[in-house]
């Protein structure tokens, strides 16, 4: 989604990052029930999710504040690097 926004819609990196986080809300809300209900047992660990959220909501607020002060160019390299890292991980250890 970020490449889509940056490469085709020509949104700057900061806005692309922020926008993708808002856009994931309806997507995650639609996807979670599929993981929870369509297989024999729920494929969601609610207990772990709860504790992750306790940390991540604080983190998300801090990260979002931090985004304001990071210049666009390092941000672009950072996003590309993170994407490369996760991509290689997925490809090598799927």
């Amino acid at each position: 989604m970020i490449p889509l926004l940056v490469l085709w819609a020509h949104v700057d990196q900061r806005r692309a990052n922020a926008t993708s986080l808002v856009a994931i809300i309806p997507i995650a809300i639609a996807a979670v029930p599929v993981y929870y209900f369509t297989k024999g047992s729920p494929q969601v660990d609610l207990r772990v999710a709860l504790f992750l959220v306790i940390g991540s909501v604080v983190g998300a607020y801090l990260g979002a504040r931090l985004l304001k002060s990071v210049p666009d160019r390092p941000l672009r390299y950072g996003v590309a690097a993170l994407m490369l890292l996760v991509g290689v991980k997925q490809l090598v250890f799927p």
Partner: protein, 127 residues
């Protein structure tokens, strides 16, 4: 509360900061965190990370909206369009899944990262 719960809070904090900074790219950190750190299966890790990203994205997204860094129109069309893809993708992940899907996704990410690197190099600094 166990040590694993504490670890989840700390991991969540880290993944949350990344989510706030780089958007969904940060959310992707939840998945390896859960498979490597918590021994969750790939599917459970994805399902759990999607559940955890909802409140995270609400808080981060709200902060972004207040900072006026969100292109709301783009968020609506990517998010709205993404809903259809999300259901199809989630059904694929839950029922057919497997290493092939993860590898295809990985290849897609690597290709995107190269395009982004190229653009980061070619484009002058924007204010």
């Amino acid at each position: 509360m166990t040590w694993m719960d504490v670890a989840a809070i700390v991991g969540g904090l880290f993944a949350g900061v990344l989510s706030g900074l780089v958007g969904i790219g940060g959310g992707q950190v939840f998945v390896p965190l859960l498979t490597i750190g918590f021994g969750a299966s790939q599917i459970v890790a994805q399902g759990t990370s999607l559940a955890a990203i909802i409140p995270t994205a609400f808080v981060g997204g709200y902060t972004h909206v207040r900072h006026k860094t969100v292109d709301l129109e783009a968020a609506v069309w990517t998010g709205g369009g993404g809903v259809v893809g999300a259901v199809v993708g989630a059904l694929l992940a839950v029922h057919v899944a497997g290493p092939l899907l993860a590898r295809i996704f990985g290849a897609l990410l690597i290709t995107s990262s190269f395009l982004l690197f190229r653009r980061a190099r070619s484009q002058p600094e924007t204010p």
